[in-house]
């Protein structure tokens, strides 16, 4: 199955792309994507603890199962607004 994976902020900058299509095996979860990214950028694993994931614009866990056409995103710690 194919899913779209989107990268923002530090992920966007470090991976040097804002999104890509990934071909995943049936039964794949968010974890499957995280493992694959780790192969390309090992240091990313250090940030998994503080990073969140989303599937179809909703926060998800690493165990969330994926289906064809899903839009997955890596969500680094959010810092909108201002510091007040």
């Amino acid at each position: 199955m194919k899913v779209t994976v989107k990268y923002f902020a530090v992920c966007h900058e470090m991976l040097d792309r804002s999104e890509e299509e990934m071909e995943l095996p049936e039964g794949a979860t968010v974890q499957t994507i995280l493992k694959r990214l780790e192969e390309e950028w090992p240091e990313i694993a250090e940030f998994y603890e503080v990073m969140q994931m989303s599937v179809n614009w909703e926060y998800a866990t690493e165990n969330t199962e994926l289906t064809e056409g899903d839009e997955v995103a890596l969500i680094p710690p959010v810092t909108g607004g201002c510091d007040v």
């Binding site: 900058e13 710690p77 909108g80 607004g81 201002c82």
Partner: protein, 147 residues
């Protein structure tokens, strides 16, 4: 109205979006780009967002406010891209029957925005270094200024 924009935020749009005949108060909040963080001079900020999810999460915050205070007129806008010192990055408007609830709800909206809305700030310092900021620490340091 819940919106991610690349345009200058004047506040008129959020103000108009919450107009309601039962309102006795409109609380309007602007977040602006400060010229320093903890004393270190800032050159400018760059904001990036995940627009569809950000707008969905803003709408959820408005639903939370509706549940907590019975206030049904909330609007939020956040700007993305390069913002200079003094420019408005975020605007929140809340119209309520009485001001006390409006102030509380506006404060709540900003607190929640900073927790759940996927928007990121990249601080470019006056000395040319840059970093992605995270809520209580620096997420990724010593990146080059982008051209």
């Amino acid at each position: 109205m819940f919106k991610i924009t690349t345009e200058v935020i004047t506040g008129a749009e959020v103000r108009e979006a919450v107009e309601a005949p039962d309102a006795g108060a409109v609380v309007l909040f602007f977040g602006t780009v400060r010229n320093n963080t903890d004393g270190r001079p800032t050159k400018y900020l760059e904001y990036e967002a995940y627009p569809p999810m950000a707008e969905k999460k803003m709408a959820e915050i408005a639903e939370e406010i509706s549940d907590k205070w019975g206030i049904h007129h909330v609007a939020m806008m956040h700007r993305v891209g390069r913002l200079e010192i003094g420019e408005v990055s975020v605007a929140v408007a809340v119209a309520s029957p009485h001001r006390k609830d409006g102030f509380e709800a506006c404060q709540y909206a900003m607190n929640r925005l900073k927790q759940i809305v996927p928007i990121w700030k990249r601080e470019v310092w006056a000395d040319g270094e840059a970093e992605w900021v995270k809520p209580d620490a620096v997420f990724f340091k010593n990146l080059p200024e982008r051209t």
